[in-house]
């Protein structure tokens, strides 16, 4: 199977053929995937070199000129390094664009902390009106990327990852999807965390919701699931910083007594290299770690 990044390059290259308004901006990362597209559309595939402030500024300028920019690099260099550019060169100018990141929280563990961006979604949460997609499979990534490209002048972030679920699920629209129904609580699995959540909750009497579009947060679906389960105990399992969506879950359940446990990547720097599976386990996001914390919280 192809990776989400390979799918991104293939799909976006096709979209460049179809939509004259689309333009791709790169900063030396992911350039090979767009080599053919750059030959076909030299004016709409721009590589600015290793210059991430310019990457975002150019994207903002393309939007001011009426194009739909798609910006791509590692999450740490797309969201964290040029964060003020995201704040001012899109939102403040009243324009939008599509940010597509790779690398996620620890896609390249042997690359170390400099290439890890568990805080990307939390950072975007400080800004107004960004849509955030977190696909769990290359097929889902394709659907969400097409949706993002066609979303007018919206500001959209698509977070690609190496970690994937075994099978794709229908995505699109904005709502959370019900995967399992139970009565002891609601577990929300975000994107690539679904397989581990399903394994962790095997045999437990809990509802599992699947979320790929996390902003806007589908509070209505969470409320409905809590109502159907007869329990307002909620566990969020996110592939980025733990607790990133806890506020949204609390807001969704503000009209009733509730409890929320936010699971995800810890803040503490591990200073470890190794493999993805080792980092998942270290942050308690492998099936065993998740099951222990979910059962402990729900008493299930």
């Amino acid at each position: 199977m192809d990776t989400m990044r390979e799918r991104f390059a293939a799909v976006t290259s096709r979209l460049l053929d179809e939509d004259p308004r689309l333009a791709v901006v790169l900063a030396d990362i992911g350039v090979d995937g767009f080599a053919d597209a750059a030959r076909r559309h030299p004016e709409r595939v721009v590589n600015v070199g290793i210059r991430e402030q310019l990457l975002v500024g150019v994207g903002g300028g393309l939007a001011l000129a009426g194009l739909r920019p798609v910006l791509h690099t590692f999450a740490s260099f797309l969201v964290e390094r040029p964060f003020e550019q995201l704040k001012l060169d899109f939102g403040h100018q009243g324009t939008g664009g599509v940010l597509v990141s790779a690398g996620a929280s620890y896609d390249w563990p042997s690359g170390g902390f400099t290439h890890m961006a568990p805080g990307d979604v939390a950072l975007l949460d400080t800004l107004d009106d960004w849509t955030v997609h977190v696909p769990g499979h290359p097929d889902e990534a394709e659907t969400l990327l097409r949706e993002a490209a066609a979303a007018g002048d919206d500001k959209v972030y698509v977070r690609l990852s190496v970690q994937v679920n075994e099978v794709p699920r229908p995505v699109g629209g904005a709502g959370f999807d019900t995967v399992r129904e139970g009565r002891r609580g609601v577990v929300v699995a975000v994107g690539p965390m679904l397989d581990n959540v399903l394994a962790a909750t095997e045999g437990l009497d809990v509802t599992v919701l699947y979320a790929t579009t996390v902003r806007p947060f589908d509070g209505r679906a969470l409320r409905a699931a809590a109502g159907a389960a007869g329990s307002s105990d909620v566990v969020l399992v996110e592939p980025y910083l733990a607790g990133t969506s806890t506020r949204h879950a609390n807001d969704a359940l503000a009209d009733r007594p509730h409890r929320v446990l936010g699971l995800g990547v810890g803040r503490r720097e591990l200073r470890r290299y190794g493999q993805l599976a080792e980092h998942l386990a270290a942050h308690g996001l492998d099936p065993q770690g998740l099951r222990a914390r979910i059962t402990g919280f729900l008493g299930a």
Binding site: P20, A23, V25, E43, R44, V46, V48, G49, R51, Q53, L54, V56, G57, V58, G59, G60, G61, L62, A63, L64, A65, G66, L67, P69, E84, Q85, L88, D89, H92, Q93, G94
Partner: protein, 256 residues
């Protein structure tokens, strides 16, 4: 040098109300209508002559064409001290001169840094330094990608603003990219703390730009520098004006 007059805001308007009917001589009075940002006074007057020559003789944009995709774009990157900018836009009819006295107040669209969502004719919201040139590069790329080879893109930065690294990312890219519709106007009032040894123009020239350095108070020299042909290359005009402060603080001595 333009001396700001401090006439009262109630002085009757001498010129007619037709857009574009006001001249350069009226700008000091228009600037005098704005109060409350004296801290940025030197920053405001440093740009006045260059802005006027651009809007009066160079830029192909007017209130009637402010939304035309083929208009020339002027991006004020150095958003500090926008009084001269507002005065020129008002003089050219982009918005009524009676907006000027509200400068900086809660109900006014005219802030101490401009906002494109609030002010007709303003192409970018600025104030944080170092955003305009990258945005201008993107705008020039976007126009080129749409086959719009007519519009020129101008961006104004300050010599101290050039400290921001984002400018250097942009100017190093724009030369090799051959963005010949891109123009940078650098207002040099010697306010960069560590100066620019070798001159500001040399930074642009080294990156493949055409560059000219002129007296920023000489309208004819400004006009000629603005209209200098620069085929295949972006163009920078460094407009030198009187220093912001009479004496620059010496750089602190460093241990060897």
């Amino acid at each position: 040098m333009i001396r700001l007059m401090t006439t009262t805001a109630t002085e009757p308007t001498a010129a007619g109300s037709l857009p574009g009917s006001r001249g350069f001589d009226e700008l000091p009075r228009l600037m005098g209508l704005m109060t409350g940002d004296e801290k940025h006074g030197p920053a405001a007057t440093s740009t006045l002559d260059a802005l006027w020559v651009l809007y009066d003789q160079v830029l192909r944009v007017s209130p009637a064409t402010a939304a035309d995709p083929d208009r020339d774009r002027f991006l004020l990157s150095k958003g500090h001290g926008p009084m001269a900018y507002y005065a020129v836009l008002a003089a050219k009819g982009f918005f009524p001169t009676d907006w000027l006295p509200g400068f900086g107040t809660y109900d006014s669209p005219l802030g101490h840094h401009p906002d494109r969502m609030l002010v007709p004719g303003v192409e970018i919201g600025s104030g944080s330094l170092g955003h305009g040139l990258p945005l201008a590069v993107g705008t020039a790329l976007g126009l080129r990608a749409q086959g719009r080879t007519g519009p020129a893109v101008w961006v104004l930065i300050g010599d101290a603003e050039l400290d921001e690294g984002s400018n250097h990312e942009a100017l190093a890219f724009a030369g090799p990219a051959g963005l010949d519709r891109l123009h940078t106007l650098v207002i040099d009032n010697s306010s960069a703390t560590h100066g620019w040894r070798g001159g500001i123009a040399s930074r642009f020239e080294a990156a493949g730009w055409s560059a000219a350095t002129v007296d920023g108070r000489d309208h004819r020299a400004l006009y000629e520098a603005f209209r200098t042909p620069h085929p295949g290359r972006p163009h920078a005009v460094v407009a030198r004006v009187e220093p912001k402060a009479p004496t620059r603080q010496p750089a602190p001595a460093r241990a060897a």
